[in-house]
């Protein structure tokens, strides 16, 4: 605690000279509600171009948070757990100097998942069909570490430069045969630039690369016990590489480019972002003993988002519209095990390949409207909003001409009230969503081994109707001392997601009267 105080003291000393255009009470209010403050006062908040952090409304603060949450219930996808717990420790901070601004953080997560199966991956893309899996429930432990940071430098008024970097590393494992240990890493780096083209308009651009690697190892301890290791090739089509052990390495890379048009007047703001991204992930199985190609996933994504904000009196209105289209192609390699007559060793030789093995066209959209009523200190007193999401997927698996299609919509609303109690705040927020499936269809031969066990249950969950309700209570109390001001916060939150459908999808009633409930809470220290 003493060490934290020292760090807080040093950071506050560094921040003090740059607290421009703000009274001490204004700064206190902004830091107490820093998430709302940064959202409302920077139309580019959260944008992938790091140059925009120069526009953050708070000059300096840091926060340390410790949280714990649990989840329980039968309403979950079959490759997820119905019993989870997560301990999270994270720090996050912002620091603005004259020409340079910094933002970043790091976090550690220790998670438990009870009785999970059907997915051995950690950071592999959720849309990648080439997964490795086993069919036996196990209790998993996951440790994860994240580090992210970005800076923005404004050498002259007309131009700004920035660099963003995100690093994620983790491991997940279980202690029941077949034992799995998966280690994964994702790293993203993207430099950015923006130009001031007129008094109120900036044009920005950023581009970068994403690196990904993941290594999964299955093993069995019990002598003579074989397990099934499913090498999936989309929609549950698979090979069963049964045995006592199996190993896979996945490597991937992606590159992306985003353009921004930023327009900011005192009472109006607008940000248009157009993005393009292309990535691949390629699996190689067998480790050092042999090499079997487990499929290559390719994804091309085009996205656009638009946020418009305007302020009228105490009211701040924000409209956000986003859309994305993804074109996914999975390549499968037809391989033959060939024995070298000289050495007697065998190796897999690629005899043919199908670039259209797994295809998916995916379209998603999102609309949000948020209204804030500002209090006299300039911070949000009331927040309310509505949102709507849309996703449409059209998937094919060849050469059997299997297909799966679905279209889902989700609509929600939320409200948040922040009370000022002397120098402290107390926030209460509640919200809810209703998700509805508009259509779905599937074709797969009844003889497919995992049709009943994997493919149909996966679609069952995607196609369910449900509602969720969530609530959060949070307080932050300033601790004023002679040297600097810090804030201690406590929060508790809960949510429930409940199945509402009365359909019996594909002969299944597995979600009837089921729910998934989550509870959590934590403390934070901000300075």
């Amino acid at each position: 605690m003493l060490k934290l105080k020292k760090i807080a003291f040093v950071l506050s000393l560094m921040a003090a000279p740059f607290a421009l255009n703000a009274t001490e009470s204004d700064t206190t209010a902004a830091i107490l509600q820093y998430k709302d403050c940064m959202y409302l006062n920077n139309v580019a908040y959260g944008n992938i171009n790091p140059t925009f952090i120069k526009d953050l409304p708070i000059d300096a603060f840091a926060t340390l948070e410790v949280s714990y949450g649990v989840g329980n219930g039968d309403f979950h996808q079959i490759d997820k757990s119905g019993k989870t717990s997560d301990l999270m420790v994270g720090v996050y901070g912002v620091r603005k100097l004259t020409d340079v601004s910094f933002e970043g953080g790091m976090s550690y997560r220790n998670g438990k998942e009870g009785q999970r199966k059907w997915n051995a991956t950690l950071y592999q893309s959720d849309l990648n069909p080439f997964i490795l899996a086993d069919s036996l429930n196990s209790n998993y432990s996951t440790e994860e570490f994240t580090l992210d940071g970005r800076f923005s430098w404004e050498p002259i008024e007309l131009i700004r430069f920035g660099v963003n970097a995100d690093y994620l590393v983790g491991t997940t494992s279980d202690e029941q045969d077949p034992r799995l240990e998966t280690k994964g890493m994702r790293f993203t780096i993207n430099p950015g630039i923006d130009f001031k083209v007129s008094e109120y308009v900036k044009i920005g651009a950023t581009g970068g690369i994403r690196l990904f690697s993941e290594n999964s190892k299955y093993s069995t301890v019990e002598v003579g016990k074989n397990a099934s290791f499913f090498v999936m090739s989309g929609m549950g089509t698979c090979m069963d590489m049964g045995g006592t052990s199996y190993q896979r390495e996945v490597k991937g890379m992606g590159y992306f480019a985003d353009l921004q048009v930023f327009w900011q007047r005192p009472e109006y703001g607008n940000l248009l972002n157009i993005g393009f991204e292309k990535e691949y992930e390629k699996a190689t199985d067998g480790g050092s003993s042999y090499q079997f190609l487990g499929g290559q996933y390719n994804n091309m994504k085009i996205s656009a988002s638009e946020r418009f904000t305007f302020t009228k009196g105490k009211f701040v209105h924000n409209f956000t519209l986003a859309a994305a289209m993804e074109n996914i192609k999975g390549t499968w390699f037809y391989q033959k095990n060939v024995v070298d007559p000289k050495t007697g060793s065998s190796q897999w030789v690629v005899m043919d390949q199908d670039d259209n093995k797994h295809l998916e066209n995916r379209m998603s959209g999102n609309f949000q409207y948020r209204m804030d009523v500002l209090a006299s200190n300039g911070q949000s007193s009331w927040t309310a909003g509505v949102n709507a999401d849309f996703v449409n997927s059209d998937m094919k698996n060849n050469p059997s001409k299997y297909y799966q299609k679905y279209m889902n919509v989700k609509a929600g609303a939320f409200v948040k009230k922040t009370f000022q109690i002397k120098k402290s705040i107390l926030s209460l927020s509640v919200g809810g969503d209703y998700k509805m499936n508009l259509s779905n269809s599937i074709y797969m031969a009844p003889s497919e081994r995992l049709l009943e066990k994997y493919t149909l249950p996966m679609l069952d969950f995607i196609a369910t109707d449900y509602y969720d309700v969530y609530g959060k209570i949070e307080t932050r109390i300033p601790i004023v001392s002679k040297r600097f001001t810090s804030y201690i916060g406590v929060f508790a939150e809960a949510s429930t997601q409940r199945y509402t459908g009365d359909q019996i999808y594909y002969g299944s009633i597995r979600y009837d009267k089921t729910a998934f409930n989550q509870f959590g809470g934590g403390v934070n220290f901000t300075f």
Partner: protein
């Protein structure tokens, strides 16, 4: 600003339209054609063939593709690239013909292979293990509820238990005088009696993968627990027997024996017929032995229907006029002459063409069973010995290990 927007908006639209169109719908261009030429023995003509099936099974994925007939002996299979095991299965009125070609590589749009189908002496489904001797209780009483049969897919192809049945022969090992005359020889069939239990499905309801097995228990209970009194916490254990509570199926005879205790967690086989007048306490074999039959017919319910007079025949000799169900030899997947250690009780109910041998345990109610010997292991799949001679194919006096 306006100029800029006018410039960028068409670009955005073009990008989105490009994403929509993709580059082809990829409707599975990797579908190759395998032509299978099949020859049959000279003793048979193509007109004799009543049923023909060509199956190509991908060695890696296990996916099976069925062939389409072009003309007599020529079939075409549409499949994805890979290495295949191709199986040809034919039926005539009296005999099954089969042939197999392993490791057929299909990595070009057109591939050809040839299979020579021969008279079939082996079957894809075999009895891997069975236990019929039953056991003694700690009080030295005969215990008759713990029998089981384990059925194994000995082939490289998915098999279906639909229309399969399990039965015992009417002739028991202790039968002194056989009263069937020449009927079995003329019909090429064997009479079965007691409970005829089987799988009633649509033809593909009960798949059994290569190298997989199912355990059919007479009564799917943990027979080692004789009694479990929660009041006194006293548990009486019978170590002579086995736990069958995790069997895949059981033969529920509650309809005939109300004292039978069924396990609600284990699915029942359907008792498709009851042949003969006796309602015995056991579902499989008597302790002194009989013929054990695993057969597969075309339509189990129609075949076993008592009104199907072609399949229900009375003994031509003696006073018993009760019709018995006849199972044709060609429909038998596997059958075993189980006899008694006592030489006077070694009547073989099955002819040599079905089982050329016989097997027995050293005593009745000794808790011992029979396990089939392993012939070889192919790509990790165990292939059991199947010479149609039970004395050669089985290890007697084996401790029962259902599902192991």
């Amino acid at each position: 600003m306006k100029k800029f927007l006018l410039t960028i908006l068409p670009l955005v639209a073009a990008l989105f339209m490009g994403a929509c169109s993709g580059d082809g719908d990829g409707d599975g261009d990797k579908v190759y054609t395998l032509t299978v030429n099949v020859t049959i023995p000279e003793a048979y003509a193509w007109e004799d063939v009543t049923s023909e099936t060509i199956i190509a099974r991908n060695q890696l994925t296990g996916v099976e593709y069925t062939g389409l007939k072009l003309t007599d002996g020529v079939y075409t299979v549409l499949l994805e690239p890979g290495d295949y095991n191709v199986n040809a299965l034919f039926e005539t009125a009296d005999m099954n013909l089969s042939g197999q070609k392993m490791n057929v590589s299909v990595y070009s749009p057109i591939a050809v292979t040839t299979i020579a189908a021969e008279e079939s002496l082996t079957s894809p489904l075999v009895i891997k293990e069975f236990y019929s001797a039953m056991c003694k209780t700690p009080a030295n009483k005969n215990y008759m509820y713990d029998q089981f049969v384990e059925i194994y897919n000995n082939s490289a192809f998915t098999q279906y238990l639909d229309n399969c049945l399990i039965a015992r022969t009417e002739i028991a090992a202790n039968t002194k005088t056989v009263l069937w005359g020449s009927t079995p020889e003329e019909m090429k069939a064997v009479a079965v009696s007691s409970y005829i239990a089987g799988w009633v499905g649509d033809g593909k309801t009960y798949p059994i993968e290569p190298g997989q097995s199912v355990v059919v228990a007479f009564q799917a209970q943990n027979h080692t627990i004789m009694s479990d009194d929660p009041a006194t916490e006293e548990v009486e254990v019978n170590t002579n027997t086995i736990d069958l509570s995790k069997a895949d199926y059981e033969i529920d005879i509650t309809e005939y024996k109300p004292t039978y205790v069924a396990n609600p967690d284990v699915p029942n086989l359907t008792i498709v017929a009851k042949s003969g007048t006796q309602s015995v306490n056991f579902a499989v074999l008597p302790a002194f032995g009989a013929g054990l039959v695993l057969a597969k017919v075309n339509d189990i319910e129609a075949y076993c229907d008592v009104n199907n007079e072609a399949n229900w025949v009375a003994k031509p000799e003696g006073t018993d006029v009760t019709p018995y169900l006849m199972i044709r030899y060609k429909d038998i997947q596997d059958a075993i002459n189980v006899v008694c250690v006592t030489e006077t009780q070694r009547t073989c109910a099955l002819p040599a063409q079905v089982d050329a041998g016989m097997i027995y345990t050293s005593a009745m109610y000794n808790g011992k069973g029979f396990t089939r010997k392993v012939a070889e292991t192919v790509n990790g799949r165990v292939v059991y010995k199947d010479t149609n001679n039970s004395a050669e194919d089985f290890e007697p006096e084996a401790k029962p290990t259902p599902g192991a």
